[in-house]
């Protein structure tokens, strides 16, 4: 089993969620993250002085899936989440050793 961690634009969340649903991926966890990188956040003006964030607010989706689905999910997120501008984010894949579904106690493959 693998865990896919995708850091995406907040504005692309709905597109990615819907694209994943179309390929049957309905389970994931979502977190707010602050993305630091070369691209800075927007600069605002308040009372004549500049106010810049050095990060961009982003969303991290965690999706645990069986090995065979990884490629499809990655491609789906890539396509749905892309704008082509700096700041589109990244996808990371990890190996997962074990999974448990708390409700039933099912383990590993059955639990995904």
């Amino acid at each position: 089993m693998k865990k896919i961690e995708a850091i995406i634009r907040t504005t692309k969340f709905e597109a990615v969620r819907d694209a994943l649903a179309r390929i049957g991926v309905n389970f994931f966890s979502l977190k707010d993250v602050k993305g630091y990188g070369l691209q800075k956040g927007e600069v605002h003006t308040y009372r004549g002085a500049d106010l810049g964030a050095d990060y961009i607010p982003r969303l991290q989706m965690d999706i645990v899936t069986s090995d065979e689905k990884v490629e499809e999910i990655m491609t789906t997120i890539e396509q749905a989440g892309r704008t082509g501008n700096v700041g589109d984010g990244k996808i990371f894949v990890y190996d997962i050793e074990r999974v448990v579904r708390i409700r039933t106690g099912e383990r590993d493959k059955d639990a995904v």
Binding site: H44, T45, Y46, R47, G48, A49, D50, L51
Partner: protein, 405 residues
């Protein structure tokens, strides 16, 4: 003078007292909206104590310093500690020719007094030590404000010279503003305001609170200016209501256009400051102006606001989180001078007199405030530690947070 008219007149001054009282909530809201979340309790605490301190010190000595009666010379007088109600009608219908009673006079003036210190409170926010601020406040409202006020309203030398300040563009607002200026010069800017990367904006944490504050201040200003008619005279009070309201409206419009021209966005905080600027601007001559003149005075005040805020922030590098210096000091000066330009007293001679008043109050208040805050700095320190500033004054001084989940 009949009893009914006395009752109606006195009633208006009492209602005006209540209105000036609620300005303290206005200041508390405005200032807390314009600071960061982590310093909110501190601002609220300071404003809760200021009104208490203002009332008590005005009872102890302020009232009799500001209105020393027969003990007055041109610059100073003192009619003794505490209050002493004149016997019988002398404290009632005969006290002010049927306009208000003795205790009414005291409580109305006492509410005014505390506003001066409140002005300082906003400018020094987010970095001053609580106890140092409270000591400053006590001396400022107990001594500096009433002694200065006496020069005009207590029948002192500026009154004799023909200086005019109807409800306190100078006596209240500029005086508070000069105190604020002295304090922020000694205190220095908030950490993170002027950095190697340039001047950083530090946005206020709640625009609803700030807006609430400005509306409450405008609300209270009907009592501040309207009550300064010192009777319920229908012609006088109604004119003051019209000029006060139109100047505030003018201030909003002036700040709307100027700030948009300068920043290419509609900065709410500037429009809010613009309204206050208009109100401060009309205060010196609210009973002298035509409706049209009051619109112009307000408009100019509104135009001044963003220019002045940027001037203090960028040019002078004086850090004033709420814009108190621009609103109260700069527009207070503008309003005082406007008495020489517009309205029924306008004229070159009057303008000079107004200028003399502005300078006299400036020098006196600024120098004393500067000395006072410098002495406090030496004696007990004025600034919280850098660590406390980062953590926020709410946790550092009050061990609590303004909001919890």
């Amino acid at each position: 003078m009949n009893e009914a008219l006395f009752t109606a007149n006195n009633l208006w001054i009492l209602v005006a007292t209540i209105l000036v009282f609620i300005m303290h909530l206005g200041f508390a809201s405005l200032e807390s909206g314009f600071v960061r979340r982590k310093n909110t309790v501190n601002i609220l605490f300071k404003n809760s104590m200021i009104i208490a301190i203002g009332l008590l010190t005005y009872f102890i000595c302020g009232f009799n310093l500001m209105y020393p009666g027969e003990t007055a010379t041109g610059f100073f007088g003192f009619a003794g500690f505490g209050l002493s109600l004149p016997d019988g009608d002398a404290g009632g219908i005969a006290y002010a020719d049927g306009a208000y009673a003795y205790y009414t006079d005291f409580i109305f003036q006492a509410m005014f007094a505390a506003t001066g210190a409140t002005i300082v409170s906003g400018a020094v926010a987010e970095r001053i030590k609580l106890n140092s601020f409270l000591v400053f406040t006590i001396i400022f409202v107990a001594l500096i404000y009433p002694i200065a006020g006496m020069w005009k309203w207590g029948g002192g030398w500026l009154d004799a010279r023909g200086f005019y300040d109807f409800a306190g563009s100078t006596l209240v607002h500029s005086v508070g503003g000069w105190g604020a200026l002295a304090c922020i010069m000694v205190l220095g800017p908030r950490k993170g305001k002027y950095t190697s990367k340039g001047i950083q904006a530090i946005p206020g944490h709640s625009m609803p609170l700030a807006t609430l504050g400005v509306f409450l201040l405008w609300f209270g200003w009907f009592g501040f200016n309207g009550g300064s008619v010192l009777s319920a005279d229908p012609m006088g009070v109604s004119l003051v209501f019209v000029t006060t309201s139109l100047a505030a409206a003018g201030g909003a419009v002036g700040a709307f256009f100027t700030s948009y021209a300068m920043f290419k966005s509609h900065d709410l905080s500037m429009v809010l400051n613009g309204i206050l600027g208009g109100l401060v601007g009309i205060t010196a001559g609210a009973d002298l102006m035509s409706p049209m003149a009051s619109i112009i005075i307000g408009l100019i005040a509104g135009i001044i606001i963003p220019l002045s805020v940027v001037f203090f922030d960028r040019t002078l590098k004086l850090d004033d989180p709420v814009g108190a210096t621009s609103v109260h000091l700069v527009c207070g000066i503008w309003g005082t001078l406007a008495v020489g330009i517009f309205g029924s007293m306008a004229g070159g001679g009057q303008f000079i007199t107004q200028l003399i008043g502005v300078l006299a109050y400036g020098v006196f208040t600024f120098v004393l405030s500067y000395l006072l805050i410098t002495v406090i700095k030496a004696a007990m320190g004025v600034r919280v530690t850098e660590e406390e500033e980062i953590k926020g004054l709410d946790l550092a001084e009050h061990d609590m947070e303004a909001y919890t989940m």
